[in-house]
Symmetry: C2
Subunit: 256 residues, 2 copies
């Protein structure tokens, strides 16, 4: 069946969008059919996949409001096998508009029920908050991938995130699991990264991927070219790390 993953962490700037774009690209490179849902009003995943604002005619906002189906909002990207539901600033309005609905937590899950056959992977890029949009993502999937910057503040928010996941599992979606924690922007030159990594592995054990994404300027340059780093510079340390990640995820799936 369809493997549905939400990429979430309320801490800002930890690599959620970068991971969504590059993990999706790596999966498509392995001939999986992938759909990315951009659930962040900033629309960074849409930009990073090369979709300019004027091509975002039907967006995640329209899907959530029921104006269009998820298939009608889906567009192809430059990456073969990789499709996108784009987003824009209108999505900020969805938080307010969904509040009054009794089924506000299930909106995205219900829209996804109508998704066409044929996809292998669904990745949802979440905004940096634990509000209604991230709640919708956690209800719509059965797996959570948590990118974690190797910095102190990023470590601090983990308990809040884990207890939120627990609450969602109890009240809305009993199948939700933390599939893995991904250490990002790891800088070999400083001790802080190593200390944070050691701390996270001590708490979460094998839930932490062996693969660590290094801080690599090519990764942050790629979005300005509208390309995933795997296409922008496939030899870069960042691109190679995301390819290693997808290999590790497939190995874990096979072993599960």
């Amino acid at each position: 069946g369809l493997h549905r993953v939400a990429i979430a962490n309320q801490k800002g700037g930890v690599g959620k969008t970068t991971t969504a774009i590059n993990l999706a690209t790596a999966l498509a490179a392995l001939k999986r059919k992938v759909l990315v849902v951009d659930l962040d009003p900033q629309g960074n995943a849409s930009t990073g996949l090369g979709v300019p604002a004027k091509q975002r005619v039907r967006t995640t906002y329209d899907v959530l409001m029921g104006a269009v189906t998820i298939d009608q909002a889906t567009i192809p990207t430059e990456v073969p096998g990789l499709f996108l539901v784009p987003s824009d600033i209108n999505l900020t309005g969805a938080e307010l508009e969904l509040i009054d609905k009794p089924d506000r937590a299930f909106c995205l899950r219900d829209r996804l029920a109508g998704l066409a056959e044929g996809y292998d992977e669904l990745l949802i890029d979440c905004p940096p908050s634990l509000g209604i949009l991230t709640l919708n993502a956690m209800v719509a999937v059965n797996a959570l991938l948590i990118p974690l910057q190797c910095e102190f503040f990023a470590l601090e928010g983990l308990c809040q995130l884990v207890s939120t996941v627990e609450r969602v599992r109890q009240n809305f979606n009993s199948s939700l699991e933390i599939e893995g924690l991904l250490l990002t922007m790891y800088d070999r030159r400083n001790n802080l990264s190593a200390e944070v990594a050691a701390d996270v592995r001590a708490h979460f054990g094998s839930k932490v991927y062996d693969t660590v994404i290094p801080r690599n300027v090519r990764v942050s340059e790629a979005p300005s070219h509208g390309k995933p780093v795997l296409l922008y510079d496939h030899r870069s340390s960042g691109a190679r790390a995301y390819m290693r990640l997808v290999t590790e995820i497939r190995r874990r799936d096979a072993a599960a």
Copy 2:
């Protein structure tokens, strides 16, 4: 009178909290009496100022809900002359609870009306979103300081932020001005920082501070010691940059 500034940018991880903590500390070092309001449910500003979770008895959430006054929630920090209204995860609930109130945008402004005399500076650390909490901050102040990471995605969100400021000015707070844009995590070793900086200066001209905050590992180490970098390592390039910033801000104020 009291100089009230909100430190806001919906893009995550751009240095909002780091700027709030260190600018506040630098102002206190110049013998100003400073209040920091932590308006982010992550509570990073509270942590970075050395206030552990168990000392956050009365929080920003209690103030917004009217359970306590702002003075009752204010606590001293290790920095002489610097006071804090701490926050915790309960603040996430405020977004939902304020929604139904007709005056939801003015809640913080109204609470601040009761603030004791004697403060020179008020700094509000905002969460990474353009929701109700950030709206409250923009209504409660007359100046906005926008930290901007020298990265492509950070540049992209600026138009959304500027148009939000415009809407707030027209509908809620005609005195709101962008006081300045602060370039953060500037890395001399790569072109991306220079390109983004040039772009921002081309668009915003003199609104961009001359002072640029370099990427400096001592800045990201400081929060794990519960200290602003100005106290943790005052000789570091990051600490010196924040001291330069406060000198530049005072020079601009004098010239205004």
